[in-house]
C-alpha cells in the first residue's frame, strides 16, 4: 500500500453529476493545501452507464491514481457492484440509495476486509434542510468531508465560490445541505478512527491551482501567440476548444468550429501560410483525415501544428478511455517522404511548454509538428503552483529571392506575405527553387535532399531524453507520455529505479539510451499500448532491442501499483 497518499472514489450513473461533484471535492481538498490528482472514468454516452471520479491526494506532488480507494461514495446502485472491490482493507463504503443490495459474495468480501458500510439517506437530509433532491450530492460531499476529519468552514468556502454565481437562494440551500450532511447523526467516531489521511502542514498555499492537461495546452497556445483555433469535436481533444472558446473575449483568438477535420487542418495551414499562428486539435480518427494535409505541409514547407489527443483502439475504439497507440500514426503520418517532428506531453508543465516549442519548431524548420497527448492527461486534474516560464518566440523569418532556395541546413528563406514583399508560390507539386513545378530528375532529387536535411538539422538541436530517479539503479524504465506520472510517483514512494523519459519522440535522440544499454542495466519499456510503439521507434533509430516490455492496453492508465509491482 502506498504511503502518504489517500484516495476517494465517487461512483454513479453517467450524467448524475459525478464530474461536478468530483471537481468540487478536488478543489476543496486542494484548498486546504493538499496536492490532488483526479481521474475520470466515464462511458461514451450522455445518460446511463456507470461513471467514476477518483481523487488521490497527498502532501507531496502526485500525478497518478491508485488502483484502490480508501472511501468509496456511491450515488447509484449499479455502481456499487462495479467498484466495491476497489476499496482497500478497512475502507469506507458510503451509499445513499436504499435499493442497494449486496450479493452474498460482496457481503462476505465486506466482512473479510473489515469494510465500514454507511447508508446515508442524503435525499431526505437535503429535503429536510430545505434543499432539492439534487442537493443530496452536497450532503454526501460534506459527510465525506466529516469522515476525513476536516473543518466544515473550509468546505463552506469552496461551495460558496462555486455556487455564488447561481444566486443567493440556491447558494443558501446548498449551504444548509452542507451543514446537515456534515452534522448528520449517522456519523460515528469509530469511522474516523479508520482514516489516516496524510499529515498536512496547515499553512495553506492558496497559489495552487488545479488544471487539466488540455487546459495547459490551451494556455501554452495562447502564450505562444496562437491567434486562431480551428476545431471539430472529438474526445479527448474537445476541451481545448472549450477553453479557448470560453476565453476568446479576453484573448481575441478567432475560434472556428469547422465542418470537418479536413477543413480545420486546411484552415490552420492557410492561416499559418499567411503568417499567423493557428492551432487545431483532434483524436485518432480525425487525425487520419488530416494526414493528407500533413503531407502537403511537408512538401510546401508550411509550418503546421496539430494536437493529437490519443484514446484507445482502432476505428471508434473505446472513445472515452485512455491509451497511447497513435505514436506510430503520428510519426508515419502523411504519404511520401518529408520531415516532421513529434512531441509528447505528459503533464501540465510539458503541455504548456511543448505547445510553445511545437510552434517554434514548426516555424523554425517550416515543418508539420504533431503534439501528442492522451485522455489520461487531457482530462485529468493536476495540481500546479505556477506555470513554467514562457519560451521566447522563434519564427526564423528571412527575406530572400526564392522561397525554396537550396541551403546546407535545408532551411530556405521564409517571409510573411506582405504588400511590400516579393510574392511567392507554395507548391504541393514537386518544385524547383523558384516554386516552379518540375519533373526534372536532378531538381526532384535536389529539393527532396534539401527538405530531408532539415531532419538532421533539427535532430542536432533537440535535447536528449531526461533521466529521473536513481541514476545508479540497476533498473531503468523507458517511456513517454502519461506513463511518466505513476513512475515518478513510484520513485517518490521510494522505488529504486531510474526512468528515461522521452518528450521529443521524432526525430529521435538515441545517445542517452545507448549509454544505458551499453551497461548491464535492466532496461524495461513501459507503454500504454499493445505493441510497444515508442520501443519500435527507438529500435529503428538506435538498433537497440528491448528485452523486457510492460504493455497495458485495456483502456486504463498505468496506476501507481502497476509500477510498484514491477519486479526489479
Amino acid at each position: 500500500m502506498p504511503t502518504n497518499r489517500y484516495s476517494i472514489k465517487l461512483g454513479g450513473e453517467s450524467g448524475q453529476g459525478i464530474n461536478t461533484l468530483g471537481v468540487l471535492l478536488s478543489k476543496a481538498i486542494k484548498s486546504i493545501g493538499y496536492n490532488i490528482f483526479s481521474y475520470r472514468e466515464y462511458p461514451s454516452l450522455i445518460k446511463g452507464g456507470v461513471a467514476s471520479y477518483q481523487i488521490d491526494f497527498s502532501n507531496i506532488y502526485i500525478a497518478s491514481s491508485s488502483k484502490v480507494c480508501n472511501i468509496l461514495t456511491i450515488l447509484d446502485p449499479e455502481a456499487v457492484h462495479e467498484y466495491i472491490k476497489s476499496l482497500t482493507q478497512g475502507g469506507i463504503l458510503l451509499y445513499d440509495d436504499s435499493e442497494v443490495v449486496f450479493t452474498p459474495d460482496e457481503q462476505a468480501w465486506i466482512t473479510q476486509n473489515s469494510i465500514h458500510v454507511i447508508y446515508l439517506d442524503s435525499s431526505k437530509i437535503a429535503l429536510e434542510a430545505g434543499g432539492s433532491a439534487i442537493m443530496s450530492n452536497i450532503v454526501m460531499t460534506s459527510f465525506v468531508w466529516r469522515l476525513l476529519g476536516l473543518r466544515q468552514e473550509d468546505l463552506t468556502i469552496v461551495v460558496k465560490e462555486i455556487f455564488e454565481c447561481k444566486g443567493e437562494d440556491i447558494l443558501n440551500k446548498n449551504l444548509a445541505c452542507l451543514n446537515s450532511g456534515f452534522n448528520s447523526s449517522e456519523f460515528k467516531e469509530e469511522y474516523s478512527q479508520s482514516i489516516y489521511i496524510p499529515k498536512q502542514d496547515l499553512e495553506q498555499n492558496n497559489n495552487k491551482k488545479i488544471l487539466t492537461g488540455n487546459d495547459a495546452i490551451a494556455l501554452g497556445a495562447i502564450a505562444s501567440g496562437v491567434r486562431a483555433y480551428y476545431g471539430y469535436p472529438m474526445t479527448p481533444a474537445t476541451s481545448i476548444f472549450k477553453y479557448l472558446g470560453n476565453t476568446y473575449k479576453e484573448t481575441g483568438i478567432l475560434i472556428k468550429q469547422a465542418e470537418s477535420e479536413i477543413t480545420a487542418v486546411q484552415m490552420a495551414l492557410g492561416s499559418m501560410a499567411m503568417g499567423t499562428r493557428a492551432l487545431t486539435a483532434t483524436s485518432g480518427g480525425g487525425f487520419d483525415l488530416m494526414q493528407e494535409t500533413i503531407s502537403c505541409a511537408g512538401i510546401t514547407e508550411t509550418p503546421l501544428v496539430i494536437v493529437l489527443a490519443q484514446r484507445v483502439g482502432a476505428g471508434t475504439g473505446v472513445p472515452t478511455w485512455t491509451g497511447s497507440s497513435d505514436i506510430h500514426t503520428a510519426i508515419k503520418s502523411g504519404h511520401g517522404e518529408f520531415p516532421k517532428a513529434v512531441l509528447c506531453v505528459s503533464d501540465i508543465q510539458s503541455g504548456y511548454t511543448l505547445t510553445q516549442q511545437a510552434f517554434n519548431i514548426a516555424e523554425t524548420y517550416h515543418i508539420p509538428v504533431i503534439l501528442l497527448t492522451e485522455k489520461q492527461i487531457a482530462e485529468s486534474l493536476f495540481t500546479v503552483e505556477a506555470l513554467p516560464l514562457n519560451l521566447p518566440i522563434q519564427r526564423n523569418l528571412n527575406d530572400g529571392e526564392n522561397r525554396y532556395t537550396i541551403t546546407s541546413s535545408g532551411i530556405s528563406p521564409r517571409w510573411i506575405p506582405s504588400f511590400d514583399k516579393k510574392p511567392y508560390l507554395s507548391s504541393s507539386d514537386e518544385h524547383n527553387e523558384k516554386s516552379q513545378s518540375t519533373e526534372n530528375s536532378e531538381e526532384i532529387k535536389q529539393m527532396s535532399d534539401k527538405r530531408i536535411q532539415k531532419m538532421t538539422t533539427l535532430l542536432n538541436n533537440l535535447p536528449e531524453p531526461v533521466l529521473y530517479g536513481n541514476p545508479d539503479s540497476q533498473t531503468v524504465l523507458v517511456s513517454c507520455g502519461s506513463t511518466k506520472n505513476p513512475i515518478i510517483d513510484a520513485i517518490n514512494q521510494g522505488m529504486d529505479i531510474a526512468y528515461l523519459h522521452y518528450e521529443y519522440l521524432y526525430p529521435t535522440k538515441t545517445q542517452a539510451l545507448l549509454n544505458l544499454a551499453s551497461t548491464n542495466k535492466n532496461l524495461i519499456l513501459v507503454e500504454n499500448n499493445q505493441t510497444g510503439e515508442l520501443g519500435k521507434v527507438l529500435t529503428e533509430a538506435s538498433s537497440y532491442q528491448f528485452k523486457k516490455k510492460i504493455l497495458k492496453y485495456d483502456g486504463r492508465p498505468f496506476f501507481l501499483e502497476d509500477i510498484l509491482n514491477i519486479q526489479i
Binding site: 478543489k27 495562447i222 501567440g225 486562431a228 473575449k249 484573448t251 492557410g270 499567423t276 506575405p417 508560390l425
Partner: protein
C-alpha cells in the same frame, strides 16, 4: 491607373491544350486584378488540383497550390489570418462538386469574404476525362462506355440553396464579361461564387464555341429573389444565362459576426507575440 498586366505574368509557358478555356480565364483574372489596382503582392490565390491548378506557377501573385478539393478551406484560412489580402480560391467542377462539396456549402453559409472561381468544364480533365456531376448524362466517359449511371446536378441549384452573398456565371469565351464578373465578385463583401462555363476541346469536344454561342444569353444585374435567380440560373438544353445571377447584400460576413474580433483594428498576422497568461491562470482555482 490600372497596373501593367505583365506584372502578373510568370515567365513560364502554359501547359493547357490549344483552345482550352483556362487561357482566357487566367487572362480575365489578371485583368480583373490589374483593373482593380490589386498588385501581385496584394493577392493570394489558393489553387486546387486539376488543369486549372496547373496555372498556379503561371501567375505572379502570392499563391498556394494545395490539395485536391481543398482550395476553399485553404483560402478561408488565408483570408481569416489577413483580411487585407484579396483571397481567391480557384478550382474545377471535380474539386468543387465532388471532392470538396462540403466546403462549398459551408463557405456560402459562413459567408467568408473570399472569391471562389469554379472552372466548370464538365469533367475531370487532368486525369483524362472522367465524369463529374455536370457531365451530360448521355455522354460516354473514361471508364464509362455507356455513360455515367448517376444523375447530373445543376450547380446553380446547389449554390442558390445555401443563399449566397454573390453568385455569377461567366463563360471562358467572353473575356470582357468574365473580367467584369471577377471584379464584381472581388469587390463584393462576402462569399462570391463565380461559376465559369469553360471550353474543354479535348474531353468535352461537343461543347464547341459555336455550341456555347447558340445558348449563351447575357443577363442584366438586377435585384432578384432566390426564386427568380433559380429560374434564371437553371441551364436548359436551349439556354445558358451568364452574368450576375443573385446578390444578397443583407448578409454579414463571417468575420463581422465574430463577437471578439469584429471591431479589431489589427489582423491575426499582426498579433503573433508572447502573451502573458497569468490572469487566465489566476482564474483557475
Amino acid at each position: 491607373m490600372a497596373i501593367d498586366i505583365n506584372a502578373y505574368n510568370s515567365n513560364l509557358k502554359s501547359t493547357w491544350c490549344p483552345g482550352c478555356g483556362n487561357f482566357i480565364i487566367h487572362m480575365a483574372l489578371k485583368k480583373a486584378l490589374s483593373e482593380l489596382d490589386i498588385t501581385p503582392s496584394q493577392a493570394y490565390i489558393a489553387f486546387d488540383i486539376g488543369c486549372n491548378g496547373n496555372g498556379a506557377d503561371k501567375i505572379n501573385t502570392y499563391a498556394f497550390k494545395g490539395l485536391h478539393g481543398r482550395a476553399i478551406p485553404l483560402a478561408t484560412g488565408l483570408h481569416l489570418a489577413n483580411r487585407k489580402f484579396t483571397v481567391i480560391a480557384d478550382l474545377g467542377d471535380g474539386a468543387c462538386f465532388h471532392e470538396g462539396l462540403d466546403h462549398l456549402i459551408h463557405a456560402i453559409r459562413s459567408n467568408y469574404d473570399i472569391t471562389i472561381l469554379i472552372h466548370n468544364n464538365q469533367n475531370f480533365a487532368l486525369t483524362t476525362g472522367q465524369a463529374t456531376l455536370t457531365t451530360d448524362e448521355e455522354k460516354p466517359m473514361y471508364g464509362l462506355p455507356d455513360s455515367k449511371p448517376e444523375r447530373t446536378l445543376e450547380p446553380s441549384e446547389i449554390i442558390l440553396s445555401a443563399n449566397p452573398s454573390f453568385y455569377a456565371r461567366g463563360y471562358s469565351g467572353d473575356m470582357q464579361q468574365l473580367t467584369e464578373l471577377i471584379k464584381a465578385g472581388i469587390q463584393n463583401k462576402g462569399c462570391s461564387i463565380i461559376e465559369i462555363m469553360q471550353l474543354c476541346p479535348t474531353y468535352n469536344e461537343e461543347c464547341t464555341p459555336q455550341w456555347f454561342m447558340q445558348r449563351i444569353h447575357k443577363i442584366e444585374d438586377s435585384n432578384r429573389t432566390l426564386e427568380e435567380a433559380r429560374k434564371i440560373g437553371t441551364i436548359t438544353d436551349e439556354s445558358i444565362n451568364t452574368g450576375i445571377i443573385y446578390r444578397n447584400t443583407q448578409l454579414k460576413t463571417y468575420y463581422e459576426l465574430q463577437e471578439n474580433r469584429k471591431d479589431s483594428q489589427t489582423e491575426l498576422v499582426d498579433e503573433v507575440k508572447q502573451y502573458d497568461v497569468q490572469k487566465l491562470f489566476d482564474q483557475f482555482k
